[in-house]
Point group: none
Chain length 186, copies 4
DNA sequence: GATGAATGAGTCTTCATTCAT
DNA sequence: AATGAATGAAGACTCATTCAT
């Protein structure tokens, strides 16, 4: 009984499970069972569980990056863009059952030896930071002030994500949205 | 070779390891080895690994609570108290090698079945939130406005902790400190 | 269903299997099944398969060493002792179904990283070499000549063991016995 | 990217790896990677790993046989031929990093079911034995005495090979060479 | 003649927990 | 109160082999 496209099925399944329960709490066996693949098929496509995690984070990053770019390049002023971002975040948190940021969550459990994962975290976080800085810069010509505001919004976004996950309540996103809209005023 | 205070040695050892590497990444074998206890002795004091985790979080919460209370009841105005809190956070993050919040970190890997752990997270986070609200209230008689400011500071504190851990850099604490001091102005 | 003395049962079982089929061809599963133990019980007593192998070689060495000592210290002249040694070897080869020397056999498949195993091989072989030298010295006061004869007998013993195993025939032991008796004449 | 002579590349690669690390320690994945072939191509040329091993032993045997024949048919007396053989053995052991006899090494790990491999071992060993008998016969017309001497030299050769591999020292070859030269005197 | 994807059974090892003493 | 031995389930990973194209 040969099943094609094992590679994609594995990545998709692992993505769901990693996101929902955390990298460390999901075993290879569970992934291959749910993806209906043989264990050796898994290792044909991904040299290790860690490599699979990297592939997953990579795929998440691509989606996230496209999202950020579409906002930056989209219509409307910075305020509405920023507000829209938090609207999206709210939907995302609810839809993902309050699981928060895949990168932060993975970083908590990936040991210091996982340099590949750590690099991806840094890259993703940097992109987000730059996104908020860029948004702020669209309202304020002063690069320095814009950067400062962007960094603050980045932190309040991160806090909202973290605490929504912790408390299983959505209010942190609401608070963050309001705060962000105020922080972007110059 | 009788070792007294096995209970405390276990708790202390587990605390160090859980904090440094994360609840899911530390096995009880490692804990009892480092605490120089027998495995059965461990289970005499703590019915399960999860129970030990709860005891650890409880002990952390007590220290944290005392810290927050001493700030609230201490000398000085709200600004200096708030600023001092972030100074302490900075020291803590550096000294703990950027491991971040034990509660958030544990929440990421503790499954949905761990209600005891989840409850502790809620309690701890609520205490922090109230702390920031209280601090804001010391500067602003308007309860509603103070609460809103407190919540925002809470989120930016959380974001700073999360991202300092992710990026292994201290700047988020600096940014959060500045932002908090501004958010508390009315 | 608790079974005591798992440690000994494991060592005994592993000894039989390692000897009969070779270290690399016997898996942990087979050992614990035949020893009727749980897998974790195995790892409580032996940190690794390699460590178990070392324990086995150690136990073999002890028996071998006692055997050699009893010959050296026993009654009779060197000729009869030497001849008796090869008689014992003949019995051993037949009884063990021509599996040859545990040390040589293990050395073939234990990678270069197994320093513990390699050390045991060196030690065992050195003991054998000294045994033959000592036997020769009992017939010849000239240390140098005795050593040379002992080394030659050691090699012919080794060759007999190797080729008896390869050919599944006993004649190499017979030939070696005759040759040894001649080599020991001065 | 067509690669001709896949069959030969596989055989050559497998030969190197089998010899250096042992039949049981080398997987076909490693072989096909190093030989830059596809897995299915491998099974097109060799029905199994065991068959590949037989092909390898066959190729070794051919070289060995030519070597023995060239010695037998070569110039010089038996003494110098015998001495030369051990000179060659010395070079071989050093150059192959003390890996010893491919046949003996394979015999240790090839299960009883591998009749093809076992047959090759018998054949190769018999050729060697006959070689030494023939050499002895060149010095002694008495067939019986020559055979006995040949067998003894065969065993001391085998012991030298085995122990050089075990001890990672070359002295057994030296000792064996001297002993052989003495054993061939009548 | 050649290939990459798929496979089930196996490898060694660690997990949190419980037992009898 | 303390202990060392025992356990089943699971962990990540590799094996030689076969399939459809």
């Amino acid at each position: 009984m040969k099943k094609p496209n094992a590679r994609e099925r594995i990545l998709e399944t692992a993505g769901k499970l990693f996101h929902k329960r955390g990298y460390s709490e999901v075993g290879i066996n569970e992934i291959i069972n749910e993806a209906e693949t043989a264990k050796a098929s898994f290792y044909q496509h991904y040299p290790s569980k860690e490599a699979l995690c990297e592939a997953w984070l990579q795929s998440v990053h691509e989606k996230s990056d496209n999202h950020l770019k579409s906002i930056i390049e989209g219509e409307g002023d910075a305020d509405s863009k920023l507000s829209g971002y938090f609207d999206d975040l709210r939907s995302y948190m609810i839809q993902s059952e309050f699981r928060g940021c895949p990168y932060s969550n993975t970083g908590v459990v990936s040991g210091n030896s996982c340099t590949g994962i750590q690099e991806q975290i840094l890259e993703h976080k940097d992109c987000l930071r730059c996104f908020f800085r860029e948004l702020a810069f669209q309202k304020c010509d002063d690069r320095e002030k814009a950067d400062e505001a962007g960094d603050r919004i980045f932190l309040i976004y991160s806090g909202a994500t973290t605490e929504t996950q912790n408390l299983k309540e959505i209010w942190p996103v609401d608070i963050a949205q309001q705060a962000a809209l105020q922080l972007i005023q110059f």
